[in-house]
Amino acid sequence: MTSRRDFLKVTGAAGAGLVLGLRLEAKPRPGETTGRPFHPNAYLAIRPDGMAVLTVPKSEMGQGVRTSLPLVIAEELDLDWSRVELTQAMPGPEFRHLGTGGSTSVSTTWTTLRNAGAAAREMLVGAAAKAWGVPPGQCRTEKGFVLGPGGRKSGYGELAEAAAKLPLPKAPKLKAPSEFRLLGRPTRRVDGAKIVTGKAMYGLDVRRPGQRFAAVLRCPVAGGTPKAWDAGKAQAVRGVKAVVQVPSGLAVIAESTWAAFKGRDALAATVTWDEGPNRDFNSKGHEDRMRTALGGPAEAARTTGAAAPALAASARLVEAEYAFPFQAHTTMEPMNATAHIRPDGAELWMGTQGPNAAQERAAAAVGLKPGAVAVNVTLLGGGFGRRSGTDFSTEATEVAKAAGGGPIQVVWSREDDLHHDQFHPATLHRLKAGLDGQGGLAAWSHRIAGGAVLRSWLGGKKAPGQAETEANGAWDIPYDIPALDISYAEVEVPVALGWWRAIEIVPNVFARECFLDEVAHAAGKDPLAYRLELLGKRGKVKMGEEDVDIGRLRRVLELAAAKAGWGQPLPKGRGLGLACHAYDRRTYLAAVAEVSVAKGQLRVHRVVAAVDCGIVLNPDHLVGQVEGGVAWGVSALFSQVTFEKGRAVQDNFDTFPVLRLPEMPQVEVHTVASGEAPSGMGEPPVPVTLPAVLNAVFAATGKRLRRLPVTSADLA
């Protein structure tokens, strides 16, 4: 937690009432005193009028952090939730870890925010107790007030100035979850009213004084550059101001978005490209390379016992190849960023999941120190990992620098957004299972071949532990199998790669849980019973550096199966399939899907999910995350990105279909009550959804689908 000295150094004197750019002094209400705000740490301030100003240290992309994180502070601080204002944190010395992703927003801020709220509460109580001459232990707090013996009552605003003079508590007392009054309730989203009236501000809605707009013409082949072009054709378009070159291509600067797009179209007709070294990249060739890599050297992600001889000696060997394609994000709001270069620094406005990284890379691109780049994080019209990318914000900074003048908003069309996504890489999986004479699973081998996302994000540098990262979901297979061989073979990809909701865990769990169903079938066992048998009655099992609680995984598996009616007769043509996973060794889920297939069409009727993610901050938003993850997973069954001649083939929602309302399954969510610390739910529902559906297809039709996307030919 910030020390008092650090706090004063960063914000200057506390007396001005201007902290972190906030105007904290306000006209006092009748009966209230003027005074100084109470700002004991970076996350909260109490104004003299009693309004609490809370700072949100994660980006809002629909996962609900602008509601849940401030609620954590409000809970420990006993605030009146109706007297809370929010500000969005900006990267800087007080906020070095604003990166939002990995389903970690609550889990990584839980303790910090609780302590921030609890410390402030103790100081306010201390101030009241001192003023009343009573022991702090005889005081309590409720909805923004300290209450003392004899009916004494003081609002936090009144106490703000006195509280600010007290020392910061080193170890404030936190509430027991049983004492929670705000957390655990279905609190509505804070931005709801703005959203439904069109007042919510996303990156694309930023309008700065004197703002121009830009569209960037990028070579359709990754790594290609413009050789020749006629800027005059663009400049002849009404509203176009200039054409400037930046590393990513040619930026057409205009007075409006439409003029920028029109100018770019005119420019595009004149450009000759040097398509560069990747002009022959295509999906078929890439798949051939992945298949070759499956048979070549690979890096071990996890090795237990001796799988190769065990497989060779097995009574029955089951073997299969699974294929997962390149995927795109297609956030509803296409990429965009607004940048303003000033003599002394720069300012950016965009939806970003990586404010700190965006700040650093934008600064480096234009020769500034990171501290000279102010990053304003707007609402995100979808993130899903795409907005962890810094490409679009760095590009906007470069455009603004090259163009000179005031702020410029670089807008990506949907075609730009699809063609220049940071794609989820395709992977090919080879799985082998060795059964003994009694159907027991003696050995399991899972080799994955494909591009490495983290390496792409690091600009080609290989991170330590790459194999484990790319095999996440495969190496942490929770079943008790005596011999395991999980490995990864990297295959280079010339296009940008990025984190896509649940990342490598999606294809790895898809392959694993579908193949396990194949093995169960080969062993003549029911998929549920087989999984329970393989999980065994173990408690906590060490996996890498972490403990996985097999009991919690069994519980969600049994719960999902029971609620879905596993084993009960179904109408003809319907089937149930299931899958389970301990997501990143911390959130436990199982899903059962009910499907039917008719005339080459797959209908997912229902997905029953059982989840255990520790303490639930908002049960309604938890359901929303499961609904969203299921929707994402079902959608992914039917789409892909393919490449020909170095270009992505798909360019809009007609060629890259996504899930529509009539296709959305009914989603039932059953939550296991838990006292464990919150462990995240943004991504976990995705990886179990795909295999649950595909296993259900097998149950309904006898067809085993091992390649995605699913086509009607597969189902005919």
Binding site: M61, G198, W258
Partner: protein
């Protein structure tokens, strides 16, 4: 270049733009009404939906010339302070996740209810089926439309 006269949210506006400028960009850039969203530019996703003379239309597919002389209502003008039954129902059901697609959804839902006060699931499927949400808010959208149709009751 002649200006186009368009009534937007009850106010007569005169916009000096190219005839082929999509209404979407007239609203967002010329008139500063950013509540109507850009999602695909091809009329596929529905994020840009507004009302033109009472009908739900995709503003990225309506040119300034085609909008001239008509009455446009955007999400900002749908009601006074979010009081439309659809907006109220959207809040009651806490429909939105990221919220970006929701203005378009709300404009389509309000037009649906104006024509069919008690829509069936099939009618909801038909109109909302032409919209895209990437966050998975679909189940709540359906519930909210029924709720608005039931006068706000569940």
């Amino acid at each position: 270049m002649p200006a186009f006269q368009i009534t937007v949210n009850g106010r007569r506006r005169s916009v000096d733009v190219d005839a082929d400028t999509p209404l979407l960009w007239v609203l967002r850039d010329t008139l500063g009404l950013t509540g109507t969203k850009f999602g695909c530019g091809r009329g596929i996703c529905g994020a840009c939906t507004v009302h033109q003379d009472g009908k739900a239309v995709r503003s990225c597919q309506v040119s300034a010339k085609e909008a001239a002389g008509s009455a446009i209502v955007t999400i900002e003008g749908l009601s006074k302070e979010g009081s439309h039954p659809v907006q109220r129902a959207w809040l009651e059901e806490d429909v939105a996740q990221c919220g970006y697609c929701q203005p378009g959804m709300i404009m389509t839902a309000s037009a649906l209810l104006a024509a069919h006060p008690r829509p069936t699931d099939g009618q909801i499927d038909e109109v909302i089926g032409d919209h895209i949400c990437r966050c998975g808010s679909y189940p709540r959208i359906r519930k909210a439309i029924h709720r608005a149709a039931n006068g706000g009751a569940k």
